[in-house]
């Protein structure tokens, strides 16, 4: 939990910093959509490799396998003229077969995962180049309206996501209330306040989503927007922006497309009084920690505000923003994020009875953050759906099934797991198969998205991005540790970093170096935090166990 929190903070930091430094170019719809596509595809392979890393192994062959899959697809569809179904079947069978092969070589032939998959990296790349004669392939225009939609399709808008999320959250709250009612009939509805509040907020979010489909007049929208920070008019063009390009299917509802943003913004305003209330409670309980956190928050926010204003001025005058502004923004934003982190963790720990309020405040703050971007006007790209489905399935598999527990156990101590009756060989093979399957899915998406597959370069280094995402997301290369949510966020961080390099016009030659340094800092910080927590925990344990000894004498 702590770990996911940390990486989430890093993501928020990276997004905001990139947006400020790029003068708002980060949050333009085109960029956001692109980012979602790339995050999805890299997130899927990150999830795959996470399973392998949890067993204490590694898969270096992912990039080459993606290259091979791309080549197989172009050959199958364009040269051999197989049907789409046959092609997908070939790809899945080949990759899952290779996954089984990896697993068998590692468990039965006792080869090291690094060696097996390193050989895979070389062999699959060679195979891909050989079967295609090293010729760049693609799917032409024939599949633009069919197969390629898997990667390029934009099936529904984010407003729909808002509606679904809102309804789901509301139902969850109702469930908790009815459960509480059956559980403690005597205690009464005293604790239900936060759930009822939760329902109200959830319904509000769902309604924000639906507001896009009503027919508001332009005047109404403009009036409503007056009290928010939502900009109907583009900063760069003097004309009305985006409206023409984004909602062409419903031209008559054009002004309404801004409604979700506006209503979310209003919802988000609620976060401020709640946050102040929390801060006051926090101060009453633990003055020192709370004071420091709030000081960091406020000073960080102020500094960020001023430095971002400076950057905007530079942009307005078409001046180079320069290293100094980059440093100013990152530092001040860093202070803010640090304060935020301390505040959230502090409140969570010091005020256990206010955790519900804390969650609601965070949700509202997220609403506000979302309303500052045009994300409500963006259409959800199809790969995002793949990622969501795979991530949910993977999380359920890892956390709710016996096999997930087996993987974590054997990653920590294979002997003990085997002696507990776990077929460890089969579980390890399964991990490599899951990884190969995820590689197949994202390999298909990568091929279809690019539509131009160079056998020698397609997918190069992707395994390293995947491993980096997994490591950033809290997987330990020693095995036995990892969470799916962390990996997905890790993949997002990687993509945002990559994106920021382009947006901030940092020389792309520095790309790998920057990503490497950031991962290194992330992992170092993680280790430091771990050590600190370990120490703290040990002290607490000594105390707690000695208490147990006293109260529970034999």
């Amino acid at each position: 939990m702590n770990k996911i929190m940390g990486i989430l903070m890093l993501l928020v930091f990276a997004c905001i910093a990139t947006n400020i430094l790029s003068g708002g170019n980060f949050v333009i719809p085109f960029n956001l959509q692109n980012l979602m596509v790339r995050t999805s595809m890299f997130g899927i392979i990150g999830i795959g490799v996470a399973f392998v890393i949890i067993t204490g192994g590694i898969d270096l062959s992912i990039g080459s396998m993606i290259g091979l899959i791309g080549c197989l697809m172009t050959l199958s569809l364009m040269k051999w003229e197989f049907s789409i179904a046959t092609t997908l079947l070939i790809v899945l069978v080949v990759s899952v077969g290779l996954g089984v092969l990896h697993g068998v070589l590692i468990t039965k032939a006792h080869l090291q995962p690094f060696v097996v998959t390193l050989c895979g990296l070389l062999i699959y790349r060679g195979a891909a180049r050989w079967i295609t004669d090293d010729a760049t392939g693609g799917f032409g225009q024939d599949y633009n309206e069919s197969l390629r939609l898997l990667a390029t399709g934009r099936p529904f808008s984010t407003s729909a996501v808002l509606i679904v999320l809102g309804i789901a959250a509301a139902l969850y709250c109702i469930g908790r209330i009815s459960k509480a009612a059956t559980d403690h009939e005597q205690t009464g509805g005293n604790t239900n306040g936060k759930w009822i509040f939760g329902i109200v907020i959830s319904v509000g979010v769902a309604l924000s989503g639906t507001s896009r489909f009503y027919n508001f007049s332009e005047q109404t929208v403009l009036n409503l927007a007056n009290y928010t920070s939502v900009e109907i008019y583009n900063k760069f063009d003097s004309e009305k922006l985006d409206i023409k390009t984004l909602d062409e299917s419903h031209p008559e509802k054009r002004p309404s497309q801004f409604m979700p943003e506006i209503s979310l913004n209003y919802l988000g305003y609620l976060a401020l009084p709640l946050a102040i209330a929390l801060a006051i409670f926090f101060l009453q309980v633990d003055r020192k920690t709370a004071g420091l956190a709030i000081l960091l928050l406020v000073s960080g926010a102020a500094a960020t505000y001023f430095s971002s204003n400076q950057v905007q001025k530079l942009f307005a005058n078409r001046q180079d923003i320069g290293m100094a502004s980059i440093l100013k923004v990152t530092l001040s934003l860093g202070v803010f994020i640090l304060g935020l982190d301390r505040f959230l963790k502090g409140v969570y720990k010091a005020l256990p009875e206010r955790r519900g309020l804390l969650v609601i405040t965070c949700v509202l703050a997220m609403c506000w953050l979302v309303s500052q971007t045009p994300i409500c006007r963006v259409l959800v790209p199809a790969p995002m759906i793949f990622l969501t489905v795979i991530a949910i399935a993977a999380a359920i598999f890892l956390n709710q099934t016996i096999y997930g527990r087996y993987l974590l156990a054997l990653g920590n101590n294979e002997t003990a797991a085997r002696l507990s009756g776990i077929n460890t060989d089969r579980m390890i093979i399964l991990a490599y198969v899951i990884c190969a399957f995820c590689t197949a899915i994202s390999g298909i998406l990568f091929a279809l998205d690019g539509n131009s597959i160079q056998p020698a370069g397609h997918g190069n280094f992707y395994e390293l991005y995947a491993i980096a995402a997994a490591v950033l997301g809290g997987c330990s290369l020693r095995g036995g540790e990892g969470s799916i949510a962390g990996v997905v966020i890790g993949a997002a961080v990687m993509r945002v970093l990559y994106n920021s390099i382009t947006l901030l016009k940092i020389p792309t030659t520095l790309e790998f170096a920057i990503i490497g340094v950031v991962i290194m800092i992330g992992v170092l910080a993680d280790e430091a935090v771990k050590k600190l927590n370990h120490k703290k925990r040990q002290q607490e344990e000594v105390l707690r166990v000695s208490l147990v000894d006293e109260t529970n004498p034999d």
């Binding site: 016996i402 527990r405 101590n413 009756g421 077929n423 925990r537 344990e541 034999d554």
Partner: protein, 501 residues
């Protein structure tokens, strides 16, 4: 006054680990040229004290004085600089390096940055001569016998000019001849004014060699024995703190049908010998023997860890084949392995996750999903039943003390509802309280009709707990002794390869 030649004085030392106070306000004195034995049961805190003296760990409270001067032993280097050398029970030689390289590891004599091999070999030969080892110093350490490696360790200690030599169970894996040799070397060292702290479970050796004996129990200093006071009985009494008859209270049960029948079993480790025996319902059977007698290997074969090569195993009358622990568990077997941390537990996981690990599958919903509710129930039940001291079920087991960790392992297996419990050194390295509780548990389980087969290297435990004892020697069963005939002598006779009387 009498402490003028006091070379080492440990005062009021306390060391706490999560969940356990390893040393509580202990003291230890060592005079120049003295041979001091430090004895105590497993978990008495001997090793912890030695680690502190060797600079591996730092005490929480108390002082260590070397030659009257207070020293903070914050690293092995500091400790060595004050002339303290520790020879671990598990020898620490790098097997792929030569003897000479091992002796000078980390302190290699160099000339202008390059290793000076000639000097290294010369010096090494000199130190080897001092311990009476006439071997080429270029020999790889891995090619030496355990006894020779031990002497190399001593040579290494001499090379740092050690004045205090601490030896942790040096004879535990030596033959009688090798031990004799070691004693000679030790006597020679004492001539040179080296003081010895000797840790051993072999009370006969302790009695023969020691000037003085210091006894620890449960992390506390119990007392000293000097000269004539050093008798076997006195030492045991101090170590255990009560009579042995109080300690074990086993009453044999009415035994039922055979639960396990093994005939002509050949293990992978000892394929030349065939093992045959049976165990009845409600019976507690001990397996005794020296280290390396093939006891653990036999349990491994029964449990499918290293499947047997040939032979028949019948569980409750039905012939079965066991090729993996999974098979064994399905047949109602459970194995509490010897190496608790390496084989028994997933240390970074919680008490709950460990307790449920072996029974997850049985309780799975639709054969896939974990049954969290059942997991919590089982864990709470086991914590209560075994009286495991843990703050809660979500505690990471790595933070628990040895005895409580062992209870978690036992809980894991009891949750599978076994009919035959295999225990490999069930009380190794755990405190006396937990030991007694484990004995009690074995009683209870046998009374409920479970069969218990346990391997132990502690003769007292074998004599105190078993209805019947199987004795092994070099991979074969040399005999079975019933409860009435069970004595240390009768066991040792068979364990050392004697024929069945």
């Amino acid at each position: 006054m009498p402490d003028q030649n006091l070379i080492l004085n440990v005062r009021n030392l306390t060391k706490r680990f999560p969940g356990v106070v390893a040393l509580n306000n202990v003291q230890l004195k060592l005079h120049e040229g003295e041979f001091l034995s430090l004895i105590g049961e497993n978990g008495a805190g001997k090793s912890t004290l030695m680690k502190i003296l060797a600079g591996v760990q730092l005490q929480d409270e108390g002082t260590v004085e070397v030659s009257g001067q207070t020293v903070r032993m914050d690293s092995v280097k500091t400790s060595q600089a004050h002339g303290v050398a520790l020879i671990h029970q598990e020898l620490n030689l790098s097997e792929n390096l030569s003897i000479a390289a091992n002796i000078f590891l980390g302190r290699e004599p160099t000339t202008t940055g390059f290793l000076n091999k000639r000097v290294i070999h010369q010096e090494a030969s000199r130190f080897l001569g001092m311990v009476g080892l006439d071997i080429d110093p270029k020999t790889l350490a891995g090619d030496l016998s355990i006894g020779q490696q031990q002497l190399v360790e001593i040579a290494k200690a001499l090379s740092i000019d050690a004045r205090i030599l601490i030896m942790d169970e040096p004879t535990s894996s030596l033959s009688a001849g090798e031990s004799e040799r070691l004693f000679e070397v030790i006597a020679d060292l004492r001539q040179r004014g080296v003081s010895i702290i000797y840790i051993s479970h072999r009370l006969a050796e302790v009695k023969m060699l020691s000037d003085r004996v210091t006894i620890f129990r449960d992390g506390e200093y119990v007392g000293d024995l000097v000269g004539d006071e050093i008798t076997h009985d006195a030492m045991v009494k101090h170590m255990v703190g009560r009579d042995i008859s109080q300690y074990y209270s086993h009453e044999p049960n009415q035994t039922g049908d055979a639960i396990l029948e093994v005939a002509n079993l050949r293990t992978q480790a000892n394929p030349d010998h065939e093992l045959s025996f049976k165990i009845m319902q409600g019976e507690i059977v001990g397996i005794s023997g020296l280290v390396g007698a093939g006891r653990t290997e036999m349990l491994d074969a029964l449990f499918g860890v290293a499947p047997a090569i040939s032979g028949t195993i019948k569980v409750q009358g039905c012939p079965v084949t066991i090729t993996s622990p999974k098979d064994a568990i399905a047949l109602g077997l459970a194995l509490v392995p010897e190496d608790r941390k390496g084989q028994g537990l997933i240390l970074p996981m919680s008490v709950k996750e460990n307790t449920s690990l072996a029974s997850l599958k049985t309780h799975a919903i639709s054969r896939i999903f974990r049954n969290s509710e059942k997991e919590s129930q089982d864990t709470d039940l086991m914590i209560k039943r075994l009286r495991t001291k843990t703050p809660n079920a979500d505690q990471v087991v790595g933070f628990l003390s040895g005895g409580n960790q062992q209870k978690v392992v036992l809980g894991k297996w009891l949750a599978t509802d076994p009919t035959l419990l295999l225990l490999d050194e069930p009380t190794r390295g755990i405190d006396i309280g937990a030991k007694q509780e484990i004995y009690q548990l074995m009683e209870e389980l046998a009374a409920q009709g479970m069969a218990v087969l346990f391997v132990s290297s502690e003769l007292e435990e074998i004599i105190g707990m078993s209805d019947r004892t199987i004795v092994m020697h070099e991979g074969r069963i040399t005999g079975e002794i019933s409860r009435e005939d069970l004595t240390e002598e009768s066991i040792m006779h068979l364990a050392t390869g004697g024929d069945h009387q």
